[in-house]
């Protein structure tokens, strides 16, 4: 492609000369530019001639090279003279004003640790406040929906419930089953030492119904559905769909959030029931290996757990579901601009949800022990 790359500096009539020839494009410009700059710095106090007689073609990078040579700061009497440049290229190079390039942009100076801590704290406080306000809005929307059932977009709620519930069933079943297997096996190994293998059934039953069923399902739900809520609503925010909803005089909370809250409130307890059943079944499978038959397991289970255990678990599941959905929707609605912001909204949904799940689970533990449930 390049037949004439005579870009070496040459001595001709005592004046240092840079010859630019052939085609100068992005692919070929780098060495030409480098050697030209070397020639310039080797001769700081002598005038330089740039001979462009044989220059056939330049692209943007070639133009930048010409511009750079022409406008580089040189000491007086050592200017760069470009000769025999095709008039159209010369005109093009002239079309940029060097004064335009003087001002260079600087990124804002980095802030100190104290200020960073302050900012993060302020952001967390503001976030907490917003979250509370949002929960209030959600409650208002739910109460409104209770009184005016037609304002709820049931079609959307059912679609969300299908996606978040039915389609999440395989993963919830898998996790629930494995949870049952793991706790049964771990505790049975210890219980065998004391000849108390049969009481492992109590442990599995209570742990699955009260704690692990709701907890693991909630974590799966946060990762799978909470993040999806944030990403969906975040994308709608980025695409100005949320603005369109607002300018129609509609409330985005009622329009986007309410169906998801309702779907989550229904679907998470249902998923927990499935997780409980397969978890307990997983425990039974393990207990066969410890000489506890299905019948023994069943009878022991009936003495160990009652309706209260199930109800406590389902109550937790309901609260977890609503909180996760609210966090996902909230993060979605506060998404900034751009694809990265959507990703951040999804990530922060999962992190915040898991923190809240654990905190709420702790609160539940205190509350339940006080109430002797």
């Amino acid at each position: 492609m390049n037949n004439a790359q005579q870009h070496d500096a040459q001595h001709r009539s005592g004046i240092e000369t840079i010859v630019l020839g052939g085609r100068i494009t992005a692919q070929t410009v780098a060495p030409i530019w480098r050697s030209a700059l070397e020639t310039l710095s080797r001769n700081p106090n002598r005038p330089i001639r740039v001979d462009a007689t044989t220059l056939e073609h330049v692209d943007s990078t070639g133009l930048a090279l010409l511009f750079d040579l022409q406008h580089r700061q040189r000491s007086p009497g050592a200017e760069v003279q470009i000769e025999n440049l095709a008039p159209n290229l010369a005109g093009l190079v002239e079309s940029w004003d060097p004064a335009d390039f003087v001002q260079t942009y600087r990124r804002p100076a980095s802030i100190g640790i104290a200020e960073q801590v302050g900012r993060v704290t302020a952001a967390l406080a503001a976030d907490f406040k917003e979250m509370m306000a949002f929960l209030g809005e959600c409650t208002a929307a739910v109460l409104h929906a209770v009184r005016h059932r037609r304002v709820v977009r049931w079609g959307e709620a059912i679609a969300v419930a299908t996606e978040a519930g039915a389609n999440a069933l395989p993963i919830v079943l898998l996790i629930g089953f494995l949870m049952g297997v793991i706790i049964a096996f771990q505790t049975a190994l210890v219980a065998r030492e004391f000849g108390a293998v049969i009481f492992v059934v109590n442990g599995v039953g209570v742990a699955m119904l009260r704690e692990l069923g709701p907890l693991m399902t909630a974590i799966v739900f946060a990762g799978r559905t909470g993040a999806a809520f944030a990403a969906q609503i975040g994308t709608q925010k980025v695409n100005e769909e949320v603005n369109a909803i607002v300018t129609f005089g509609l409330d985005p909370v009622r329009f986007l959030v309410l169906p998801r809250l309702l779907a989550a409130a229904i679907v998470v307890p249902l998923l927990v029931v499935f997780a409980n059943v397969v978890g307990i079944f997983g425990g039974a499978m393990v207990m066969l290996g410890f000489d506890v038959s299905f019948i023994q397991y069943y009878n022991q289970l009936l003495t160990a757990v009652g309706p209260a255990d199930l109800i406590v678990g389902l109550l937790k599941a309901f609260v977890f579901g609503v909180v996760i959905a609210a966090i996902g929707c909230r993060r979605g609605l506060s998404t900034g601009a751009g694809a990265a912001a959507v990703g951040r909204a999804a990530t922060s949904t999962v992190v915040t949800s898991i923190v809240w799940i654990v905190v709420l689970d702790g609160l539940f533990a205190v509350l339940i022990s006080r109430l002797n449930l």
Partner: protein
């Protein structure tokens, strides 16, 4: 350089569409070197789809598209990447990378494909941005730019690698009249002075009459090219009433009958 080169782009019996929905059947036209060709047609006539087929993003239903005499439809791997690098593309929304500043976006192809020094790359990128009047916005993130600014930065990025052929998807839609006119001037100047070939998808009539050497008009109903020629001639002398209607910006005749 040889004097007799293949057309910049040669479209041969190209059928495009999505699955069973055919947008265009057996379209053929050439884009000559140094030409500014405008692809036009109403909304939904397949202009942008045509462009994406020429770039090799979509696979045509049938037919072939040649870049510099080489098929982009059948090319694979590195050959295909090399062909695509001959094309500078500006997408309808600008398609800037959201994680990079405007300047870094324009510098991106130089970072990837050249071994130029940082100062040189920055100078080139800044000159390109000034060419599209975006110098003031070089430090902004794409999320902070308006639609028109995104487009202009997109054009600067498309030009960065010195591709011979620039493909612009609706460059002047959404720009204010002054900026749009400046952009037209920039396009003409680039062709004149740097010998770029342009394929421009647009339906801005003013822009078409200012820049286009030739216009190819797609028609969604007949799924074919219904006009190919100089815009002014098509406006004044086309046999096809739809073409004249388009160029003269006339509304459809009011009919009470439902069209079949």
């Amino acid at each position: 350089m040889t004097t007799e080169r293949a057309p910049a782009i040669s479209v041969r019996n190209l059928s495009i569409g999505y699955g069973k929905r055919v947008l265009l059947e057996k379209a053929s036209f050439d884009v000559h070197r140094g030409e500014i060709l405008v692809i036009l047609g109403g909304s939904g006539s397949g202009k942008s789809s045509m462009m994406k087929n020429l770039i090799g993003l979509y696979k045509p239903l049938a037919g072939d598209a040649l870049i510099d005499g080489q098929s982009i439809v059948t090319a694979r791997g590195e050959t295909r990447a090399q062909l695509q690098r001959k094309l500078g593309v500006m997408y309808q929304s600008g398609a800037l990378f959201g994680s990079l500043t405007t300047l870094e976006n324009v510098r991106f192809p130089l970072d990837e494909f050249t071994d130029m020094g940082m100062a040189e790359k920055n100078l080139t990128a800044r000159m390109l941005l000034r060419q599209v009047e975006m110098g003031h916005a070089e430090a902004f993130m794409p999320a902070e730019l308006s639609g028109g600014m995104l487009k202009r930065a997109g054009i600067a990025r498309a030009m960065a690698l010195g591709a011979d052929i620039l493909m612009l998807d609706e460059p002047s839609a959404g720009l204010d009249p002054i900026t749009a006119a400046n952009l037209d001037r920039t396009i003409l100047s680039l062709r004149e002075n740097l010998g770029f070939t342009f394929v421009v998808v647009t339906h801005e009539l003013t822009s078409i009459f200012t820049i286009a050497d030739r216009a190819v008009m797609l028609d969604p109903r007949s799924r074919s090219i219904i006009a190919d020629g100089k815009p002014a001639e098509l406006r004044d002398h086309s046999d096809d009433p739809r073409v004249r209607q388009f160029f003269n910006r006339e509304p459809d005749a009011i009919t009470t009958k439902v069209e079949t």
